[in-house]
């Protein structure tokens, strides 16, 4: 059986874990401001965070919140932990930054530190590095959050080559943003602190729409 053991949702400058609000910034805070405040609230030290583009920061924080109070990282074989992420805009926000740096021949400043983030799966790489997760990867692009696509593929990868998975949606597009991360395990419930819901399209749609 595949079960969701925890999830986190970030939107409208607020964070919820398993449906319960845990952190928020002022409504008019910009995304960089909100991400910075959310990072500080976690009381972690991870210098690589500050080099990330907004999308990677958002995915990183949402995953940190989803993992809070779980034993997901310590209890799973991380060589068999898959990361399956999706969004709508791919890496468009950073693509525009890189394009802007080459638009003007008299002011030409392409930077490797920006260019590397013009691939959406870099956000998967950042999660893999942070948590030493070396399993399967896939980054899908769909018009909207697609519970069917995510659940269906996660089931296939769990069947073929994974025993746990970090899944979800990490989207930044101009001023609009949203992240929703859920953690899936195939083993029996061993941790009382976590929720325990079967992985299926209905459940994922419900918990996504919950807050």
């Amino acid at each position: 059986m595949n079960n969701i053991i925890s999830y986190a949702h970030i939107k409208n400058n607020s964070v919820s874990i398993n449906g319960t609000p845990v952190f928020s910034s002022e409504k008019n805070a910009t995304l960089p401001e909100f991400l910075s405040e959310a990072y500080k609230s976690m009381e972690i030290s991870y210098p690589k965070f500050h080099k990330m583009d907004l999308q990677c920061k958002l995915g990183f924080l949402c995953t940190e919140f989803a993992l809070q109070n779980t034993a997901f990282i310590s209890e799973n074989d991380l060589t068999k932990t898959a990361i399956v992420i999706s969004n709508s805009a791919s890496s468009l926000q950073t693509d525009k930054l890189h394009q802007h740096s080459i638009d003007d021949k008299t002011n030409y400043f392409p930077s490797p530190a920006v260019f590397v983030y013009t691939l959406p799966n870099i956000s998967i790489g950042e999660l893999a590095i942070r948590h030493k997760v070396t399993g399967e990867n896939a980054f899908f692009v769909s018009k909207k959050f697609d519970a069917h696509l995510l659940v269906n593929y996660t089931e296939l990868v769990l069947h073929d080559n994974a025993s746990s998975a970090i899944c979800g949606w990490v989207e930044v597009d101009d001023t609009a943003y949203e992240a929703f991360i859920f953690l899936v395990e195939t083993k029996n419930n061993t941790n009382k602190n976590t929720i325990f819901k079967p992985l299926n399209q209905l459940v994922v749609t419900q918990i996504y729409n919950q807050t």
């Binding site: 060589t79 990361i83 709508s88 805009a89 791919s90 468009l92 693509d95 525009k96 890189h98 394009q99 740096s101 080459i102 638009d103 392409p110 930077s111 490797p112 260019f115 590397v116 013009t118 691939l119 959406p120 799966n121 870099i122 998967i124 790489g125 950042e126 893999a128 590095i129 948590h131 030493k132 997760v133 070396t134 399993g135 399967e136 990867n137 896939a138 980054f139 899908f140 692009v141 769909s142 018009k143 696509l149 269906n152 593929y153 089931e155 296939l156 990868v157 069947h159 073929d160 080559n161």
Partner: protein, 377 residues
């Protein structure tokens, strides 16, 4: 069983797989020193002939309404649909599109085409293909850096094995753009000469453009062109660095180790990623040695095509299937003397050989790696 079957390659070496395979047998290179519209510098890149593309596409549709990548993708997919007779409107048919940057040219300041700028969104780009061919299902779009093409084939296999689909069309494509050229240049990753994978004097990659399409199917009747199946395929992450490969080849080793190779002597060759950057090729050699596959000959096709990004895994799988069908090892173009520390044997000339199977690998930014094992039925 899941079969790899009908296919198409559009590149600087031609508009069909036959044209491409015959061109490489003649040691023709798609990569050439070229002056591009956006720079006074000379780049060594692989481009698709624009006049040929216009001539071919205008016999189907008005070129004004489709981007370059859409035109190439429609031509490539159409070739595979025509060869295979697969019905796109069938409940059990799916299109998977693999790309890193899609219609990235729509972001350019000087792009004055009448095309809806929203087609910069990869799902919107894929929607154009769905509409054109009347695919029943919304295409699945995969954007996973340089392993996208091979990973799309592995994902197609998983979809078919689950019973969800009988036929999955996997199309991979990326165009040559100032966007990617300037980015790789900022990394000092480009070679100004045709690239030299695994060679002592390799200095970096050539970028290339291509679109390639392959049918993955469970229908044995449709497997006739190659009589080849996908035995296994996996991805793994190095969890080491976002823009540099693991020095010890961890992720690629993990993939290779899982392939379930029963008899190494059956494997004719490994079609490596082989971008010709110092770090990538070194990493691959170490992973191959760690997986105890040093005895299996290795080639990279990047010397012919450059790095075609989202197309690469599909294109290189197709040419490896040709290699299997013709029982011919393809020379690793640009290679003269071994310049990596892992023990590997690079294929330095075309060679007839009797073999059953091959391994295709890929590695990319974000620490991702993939490997798959293909075999004769």
């Amino acid at each position: 069983m899941v079969f790899a079957s009908y296919n198409n390659i559009i590149s600087g070496l031609g508009f069909s797989t036959d044209e491409n395979y015959n061109a490489i047998l003649n040691s023709e290179l798609a990569v050439k020193k070229t002056i591009l519209p956006f720079s006074i510098e000379t780049f060594c890149v692989a481009k698709i002939d624009e006049t040929l593309l216009k001539n071919r596409f205008s016999s189907i549709e008005n070129t004004d309404y489709y981007t370059k990548l859409e035109q190439l993708s429609i031509l490539s997919i159409q070739d595979v649909m025509a060869q295979s007779g697969v019905n796109p409107a069938d409940e059990k048919t799916l299109l998977i599109y693999s790309t890193t940057k899609g219609n990235i040219d729509l972001l350019e300041k000087n792009n004055f085409s009448a095309i809806d700028k929203n087609r910069i969104y990869l799902w919107s780009f894929a929607n154009v293909l769905q509409q054109h061919f009347n695919f029943k299902h919304t295409p699945v779009v995969l954007s996973n850096a340089c392993i996208s093409g091979l990973l799309a084939i592995i994902i197609a296999k998983r979809y078919i094995e689950s019973g969800a689909y009988n036929n999955v069309i996997v199309c991979g494509g990326d165009i040559l753009s100032e966007f990617t050229l300037s980015g790789f240049k900022s990394f000092n990753a480009l070679s100004n000469e045709p690239s030299k994978p695994f060679d002592t004097n390799r200095v970096g990659i050539n970028l290339g453009e291509a679109v390639s399409t392959i049918l993955i199917t469970n229908n044995k009747e449709l497997a006739k062109p190659y009589e080849a199946q996908i035995i296994s395929g996996f991805s793994a992450n190095d969890a080491n660095h976002i823009s540099g490969p693991s020095r010890t080849g961890d992720g690629l080793f993990q993939c290779l180790n899982q392939l379930n190779v029963t008899n190494k002597t059956d494997i004719g060759f490994i079609s490596a990623h082989g971008t010709a950057t110092p770090f990538n090729d070194e990493m691959e050699s170490i992973a191959i040695e760690r997986a105890e596959l040093s005895g299996v000959p290795v080639n990279s096709l990047k010397g012919y095509y450059g790095h075609t990004l989202g197309a690469a895994g599909v294109l290189e799988t197709i040419l490896s299937l040709e290699s299997l069908k013709n029982q011919t090892l393809i020379k690793s173009e640009g290679f003269e003397s071994l310049g990596v520390s892992g023990k590997i044997s690079v294929i330095d000339s075309f060679e007839k050989k009797s073999f059953q199977s091959f391994i295709k690998t890929a590695s990319g930014f974000g620490g991702c790696n993939a490997a798959a094992l293909f075999s004769k039925i």
